[in-house]
Point group: C2
Chain length 157, copies 2
Protein backbone atom coordinates (compact mmCIF):
# COMPACT_ATOMS: atom_id res chain seq x y z
CA UNK A 1 0.00 0.00 0.00
CA UNK A 2 1.30 3.44 -0.87
CA UNK A 3 0.14 6.99 -0.42
CA UNK A 4 -1.16 6.86 -3.96
CA UNK A 5 -4.27 5.17 -2.63
CA UNK A 6 -5.11 8.32 -0.74
CA UNK A 7 -4.69 10.44 -3.86
CA UNK A 8 -7.03 8.20 -5.80
CA UNK A 9 -9.66 8.53 -3.11
CA UNK A 10 -9.66 12.31 -3.16
CA UNK A 11 -13.18 13.64 -3.72
CA UNK A 12 -13.96 15.52 -6.88
CA UNK A 13 -14.69 19.10 -5.92
CA UNK A 14 -16.76 21.12 -8.39
CA UNK A 15 -14.89 23.92 -10.19
CA UNK A 16 -14.73 27.28 -8.45
CA UNK A 17 -14.78 25.90 -4.93
CA UNK A 18 -11.85 26.35 -2.58
CA UNK A 19 -11.32 24.41 0.59
CA UNK A 20 -11.77 26.58 3.66
CA UNK A 21 -8.70 27.24 5.69
CA UNK A 22 -9.98 25.98 9.05
CA UNK A 23 -7.31 24.23 11.07
CA UNK A 24 -8.94 24.29 14.49
CA UNK A 25 -12.22 24.25 16.31
CA UNK A 26 -15.61 23.04 15.22
CA UNK A 27 -15.14 24.14 11.60
CA UNK A 28 -12.23 21.76 11.27
CA UNK A 29 -14.01 19.01 13.18
CA UNK A 30 -17.01 18.81 10.88
CA UNK A 31 -15.16 19.76 7.69
CA UNK A 32 -13.73 19.98 5.23
CA UNK A 33 -15.94 22.81 4.05
CA UNK A 34 -15.60 24.67 0.77
CA UNK A 35 -16.68 28.05 -0.52
CA UNK A 36 -17.11 29.76 -3.84
CA UNK A 37 -17.67 33.38 -4.85
CA UNK A 38 -19.15 34.61 -8.07
CA UNK A 39 -18.48 37.96 -9.64
CA UNK A 40 -21.69 39.52 -8.35
CA UNK A 41 -20.77 39.12 -4.69
CA UNK A 42 -22.85 36.03 -4.11
CA UNK A 43 -21.33 33.06 -2.35
CA UNK A 44 -22.02 29.42 -1.72
CA UNK A 45 -20.52 27.14 0.88
CA UNK A 46 -20.46 23.40 0.47
CA UNK A 47 -19.34 20.05 1.84
CA UNK A 48 -19.19 16.49 0.61
CA UNK A 49 -21.19 14.17 2.85
CA UNK A 50 -18.72 11.72 4.39
CA UNK A 51 -19.10 8.83 6.81
CA UNK A 52 -18.31 11.22 9.66
CA UNK A 53 -21.45 13.24 8.85
CA UNK A 54 -23.95 10.37 8.94
CA UNK A 55 -26.81 9.41 11.21
CA UNK A 56 -27.95 5.88 12.01
CA UNK A 57 -29.74 5.68 8.66
CA UNK A 58 -26.53 6.53 6.77
CA UNK A 59 -27.89 9.88 5.66
CA UNK A 60 -26.35 13.21 6.53
CA UNK A 61 -27.19 13.87 10.19
CA UNK A 62 -29.71 16.63 10.79
CA UNK A 63 -27.31 18.17 13.27
CA UNK A 64 -24.68 18.47 10.55
CA UNK A 65 -27.15 20.17 8.23
CA UNK A 66 -28.05 22.62 10.98
CA UNK A 67 -24.42 23.35 11.80
CA UNK A 68 -23.77 23.86 8.11
CA UNK A 69 -26.83 26.13 7.86
CA UNK A 70 -25.40 28.28 10.65
CA UNK A 71 -22.14 28.64 8.73
CA UNK A 72 -23.73 29.01 5.31
CA UNK A 73 -26.43 31.50 6.31
CA UNK A 74 -24.34 33.47 8.80
CA UNK A 75 -21.63 34.08 6.25
CA UNK A 76 -23.98 36.63 4.66
CA UNK A 77 -23.22 38.82 7.68
CA UNK A 78 -19.46 38.50 7.22
CA UNK A 79 -19.73 39.40 3.56
CA UNK A 80 -22.40 42.07 3.95
CA UNK A 81 -21.15 43.88 7.05
CA UNK A 82 -17.47 42.88 7.46
CA UNK A 83 -18.17 42.18 11.10
CA UNK A 84 -18.00 39.18 13.38
CA UNK A 85 -21.36 37.80 14.44
CA UNK A 86 -23.13 35.42 16.76
CA UNK A 87 -26.30 33.49 16.09
CA UNK A 88 -29.36 34.66 18.00
CA UNK A 89 -32.03 32.41 16.49
CA UNK A 90 -32.06 29.88 13.72
CA UNK A 91 -35.05 28.15 12.19
CA UNK A 92 -34.37 25.19 9.94
CA UNK A 93 -36.89 23.24 7.91
CA UNK A 94 -35.80 19.82 6.71
CA UNK A 95 -37.26 19.05 3.29
CA UNK A 96 -35.19 16.11 2.07
CA UNK A 97 -32.17 14.06 3.07
CA UNK A 98 -28.61 13.98 1.74
CA UNK A 99 -26.66 10.76 1.27
CA UNK A 100 -22.99 9.86 1.65
CA UNK A 101 -21.19 11.25 -1.39
CA UNK A 102 -23.71 14.03 -2.02
CA UNK A 103 -22.31 17.51 -2.62
CA UNK A 104 -24.33 19.79 -0.33
CA UNK A 105 -24.39 23.51 -1.09
CA UNK A 106 -25.90 26.45 0.74
CA UNK A 107 -26.12 30.20 0.77
CA UNK A 108 -27.96 33.02 2.49
CA UNK A 109 -29.00 36.61 1.91
CA UNK A 110 -29.69 39.43 4.33
CA UNK A 111 -33.39 40.26 4.19
CA UNK A 112 -33.68 42.55 7.19
CA UNK A 113 -31.55 44.72 9.46
CA UNK A 114 -32.47 46.42 12.73
CA UNK A 115 -29.63 47.98 14.69
CA UNK A 116 -27.07 45.16 15.09
CA UNK A 117 -29.58 42.41 14.36
CA UNK A 118 -29.66 40.96 10.86
CA UNK A 119 -32.17 38.51 9.46
CA UNK A 120 -30.90 36.09 6.85
CA UNK A 121 -32.94 33.78 4.67
CA UNK A 122 -31.09 30.73 3.45
CA UNK A 123 -31.33 27.60 1.41
CA UNK A 124 -29.38 24.34 1.23
CA UNK A 125 -29.52 21.99 -1.73
CA UNK A 126 -28.10 18.92 -3.45
CA UNK A 127 -28.02 19.34 -7.21
CA UNK A 128 -31.46 20.68 -8.14
CA UNK A 129 -33.20 19.54 -4.96
CA UNK A 130 -33.65 21.88 -2.00
CA UNK A 131 -33.04 19.89 1.18
CA UNK A 132 -33.35 22.65 3.77
CA UNK A 133 -34.72 26.15 4.02
CA UNK A 134 -34.42 28.41 6.99
CA UNK A 135 -33.93 31.83 8.42
CA UNK A 136 -31.60 33.15 11.03
CA UNK A 137 -31.23 36.20 13.21
CA UNK A 138 -27.61 37.14 13.78
CA UNK A 139 -26.11 39.83 15.95
CA UNK A 140 -23.20 41.68 14.37
CA UNK A 141 -20.18 42.30 16.61
CA UNK A 142 -16.88 44.10 16.00
CA UNK A 143 -15.22 44.63 12.66
CA UNK A 144 -13.52 41.57 11.22
CA UNK A 145 -10.27 41.49 9.27
CA UNK A 146 -10.63 40.93 5.56
CA UNK A 147 -9.89 37.38 4.48
CA UNK A 148 -7.58 37.10 1.51
CA UNK A 149 -9.78 34.34 0.15
CA UNK A 150 -12.56 36.86 -0.42
CA UNK A 151 -12.83 38.31 -3.91
CA UNK A 152 -11.41 41.81 -4.15
CA UNK A 153 -14.78 43.48 -4.65
CA UNK A 154 -15.98 42.07 -1.30
CA UNK A 155 -13.10 43.47 0.71
CA UNK A 156 -13.50 46.67 2.62
CA UNK A 157 -11.99 49.67 0.84
Amino acid sequence: MTDDLIEENLPEIPPGYERMNWFQGFGRQIGPLYEKYDGAGDYTRAFLVGEHHTNGMRNCHGGMLMAFADMAFGHAISIGTHRFWVTVRLVTDFLASAKVGDWVEGTGEIVGAEADLYTVRGRIWVKDQTIMTGSGVFKALGERPVRQSWPKHLRKT
Copy 2:
Protein backbone atom coordinates in the same frame (compact mmCIF):
# COMPACT_ATOMS: atom_id res chain seq x y z
CA MET B 1 6.07 10.91 28.30
CA THR B 2 3.80 8.01 29.19
CA ASP B 3 0.17 7.16 28.77
CA ASP B 4 -0.37 8.33 32.34
CA LEU B 5 -0.54 11.85 31.00
CA ILE B 6 -3.67 10.95 29.13
CA GLU B 7 -5.27 9.50 32.26
CA GLU B 8 -4.55 12.66 34.19
CA ASN B 9 -6.19 14.75 31.50
CA LEU B 10 -9.43 12.80 31.58
CA PRO B 11 -12.38 15.12 32.13
CA GLU B 12 -14.39 14.81 35.29
CA ILE B 13 -17.84 13.59 34.32
CA PRO B 14 -20.64 14.32 36.79
CA PRO B 15 -22.07 11.29 38.59
CA GLY B 16 -24.87 9.39 36.84
CA TYR B 17 -23.69 10.14 33.32
CA GLU B 18 -22.58 7.39 30.97
CA ARG B 19 -20.64 7.94 27.79
CA MET B 20 -22.72 7.20 24.72
CA ASN B 21 -21.68 4.23 22.70
CA TRP B 22 -21.25 5.98 19.33
CA PHE B 23 -18.38 4.60 17.32
CA GLN B 24 -19.28 5.96 13.90
CA GLY B 25 -20.94 8.79 12.07
CA PHE B 26 -21.66 12.33 13.17
CA GLY B 27 -22.36 11.36 16.78
CA ARG B 28 -18.81 10.09 17.12
CA GLN B 29 -17.39 13.04 15.20
CA ILE B 30 -18.78 15.70 17.51
CA GLY B 31 -18.63 13.62 20.70
CA PRO B 32 -18.07 12.28 23.16
CA LEU B 33 -21.65 12.73 24.34
CA TYR B 34 -23.07 11.48 27.61
CA GLU B 35 -26.52 10.64 28.90
CA LYS B 36 -28.21 10.12 32.22
CA TYR B 37 -31.61 8.74 33.23
CA ASP B 38 -33.42 9.37 36.44
CA GLY B 39 -35.95 7.09 38.05
CA ALA B 40 -38.95 9.01 36.73
CA GLY B 41 -38.14 8.42 33.06
CA ASP B 42 -36.54 11.81 32.48
CA TYR B 43 -33.21 12.03 30.72
CA THR B 44 -30.46 14.52 30.09
CA ARG B 45 -27.73 14.41 27.50
CA ALA B 46 -24.48 16.30 27.91
CA PHE B 47 -21.04 17.07 26.55
CA LEU B 48 -17.91 18.78 27.79
CA VAL B 49 -16.97 21.70 25.54
CA GLY B 50 -13.60 20.86 24.00
CA GLU B 51 -11.33 22.67 21.59
CA HIS B 52 -12.95 20.76 18.72
CA HIS B 53 -16.30 22.40 19.52
CA THR B 54 -15.14 26.01 19.43
CA ASN B 55 -15.79 28.97 17.16
CA GLY B 56 -13.36 31.77 16.38
CA MET B 57 -14.11 33.40 19.73
CA ARG B 58 -13.19 30.20 21.60
CA ASN B 59 -16.74 29.64 22.72
CA CYS B 60 -18.80 26.61 21.83
CA HIS B 61 -19.80 26.98 18.18
CA GLY B 62 -23.47 27.71 17.59
CA GLY B 63 -23.53 24.86 15.10
CA MET B 64 -22.45 22.45 17.82
CA LEU B 65 -25.18 23.68 20.13
CA MET B 66 -27.74 23.19 17.37
CA ALA B 67 -26.48 19.70 16.57
CA PHE B 68 -26.58 18.88 20.26
CA ALA B 69 -30.11 20.32 20.50
CA ASP B 70 -31.19 17.99 17.71
CA MET B 71 -29.83 15.01 19.64
CA ALA B 72 -30.97 16.19 23.06
CA PHE B 73 -34.50 17.21 22.05
CA GLY B 74 -35.09 14.39 19.55
CA HIS B 75 -34.22 11.75 22.12
CA ALA B 76 -37.61 12.46 23.71
CA ILE B 77 -39.09 10.66 20.67
CA SER B 78 -36.87 7.62 21.13
CA ILE B 79 -37.80 7.38 24.80
CA GLY B 80 -41.45 8.30 24.39
CA THR B 81 -42.36 6.29 21.30
CA HIS B 82 -39.61 3.66 20.90
CA ARG B 83 -39.36 4.60 17.25
CA PHE B 84 -36.70 6.01 14.98
CA TRP B 85 -37.24 9.59 13.91
CA VAL B 86 -36.14 12.34 11.60
CA THR B 87 -36.13 16.05 12.26
CA VAL B 88 -38.72 18.07 10.35
CA ARG B 89 -38.17 21.51 11.86
CA LEU B 90 -36.03 22.85 14.63
CA VAL B 91 -36.10 26.31 16.17
CA THR B 92 -33.21 27.25 18.42
CA ASP B 93 -32.84 30.43 20.46
CA PHE B 94 -29.36 31.27 21.65
CA LEU B 95 -29.46 32.92 25.08
CA ALA B 96 -25.88 32.67 26.30
CA SER B 97 -22.56 31.14 25.30
CA ALA B 98 -20.65 28.14 26.63
CA LYS B 99 -16.88 28.14 27.12
CA VAL B 100 -14.23 25.47 26.75
CA GLY B 101 -14.47 23.23 29.79
CA ASP B 102 -18.17 23.93 30.40
CA TRP B 103 -20.41 20.92 31.00
CA VAL B 104 -23.40 21.47 28.71
CA GLU B 105 -26.62 19.60 29.46
CA GLY B 106 -29.92 19.37 27.63
CA THR B 107 -33.23 17.61 27.59
CA GLY B 108 -36.61 17.73 25.87
CA GLU B 109 -40.21 16.76 26.45
CA ILE B 110 -42.97 15.88 24.03
CA VAL B 111 -45.59 18.62 24.17
CA GLY B 112 -47.69 17.67 21.16
CA ALA B 113 -48.46 14.74 18.90
CA GLU B 114 -50.37 14.63 15.63
CA ALA B 115 -50.23 11.39 13.66
CA ASP B 116 -46.49 10.67 13.26
CA LEU B 117 -45.45 14.25 13.99
CA TYR B 118 -44.26 15.05 17.49
CA THR B 119 -43.47 18.47 18.89
CA VAL B 120 -40.74 18.64 21.50
CA ARG B 121 -39.83 21.57 23.70
CA GLY B 122 -36.25 21.58 24.90
CA ARG B 123 -33.70 23.42 26.95
CA ILE B 124 -29.91 23.44 27.14
CA TRP B 125 -27.99 24.77 30.10
CA VAL B 126 -24.63 25.15 31.83
CA LYS B 127 -24.95 24.85 35.60
CA ASP B 128 -27.85 27.13 36.51
CA GLN B 129 -27.79 29.20 33.32
CA THR B 130 -30.02 28.37 30.36
CA ILE B 131 -28.00 28.88 27.19
CA MET B 132 -30.52 27.70 24.58
CA THR B 133 -34.22 27.07 24.34
CA GLY B 134 -35.98 25.63 21.37
CA SER B 135 -38.66 23.45 19.94
CA GLY B 136 -38.57 20.77 17.32
CA VAL B 137 -40.99 18.87 15.14
CA PHE B 138 -39.91 15.29 14.58
CA LYS B 139 -41.43 12.60 12.42
CA ALA B 140 -41.51 9.15 13.99
CA LEU B 141 -40.48 6.25 11.75
CA GLY B 142 -40.32 2.51 12.37
CA GLU B 143 -39.94 0.81 15.71
CA ARG B 144 -36.43 0.95 17.16
CA PRO B 145 -34.70 -1.79 19.12
CA VAL B 146 -34.40 -1.19 22.83
CA ARG B 147 -30.98 -0.01 23.93
CA GLN B 148 -29.56 -1.85 26.89
CA SER B 149 -28.33 1.46 28.26
CA TRP B 150 -31.92 2.55 28.80
CA PRO B 151 -33.31 2.03 32.29
CA LYS B 152 -35.57 -0.97 32.53
CA HIS B 153 -38.76 1.07 33.02
CA LEU B 154 -38.17 2.82 29.68
CA ARG B 155 -37.89 -0.38 27.67
CA LYS B 156 -40.85 -1.72 25.77
CA THR B 157 -42.61 -4.54 27.60
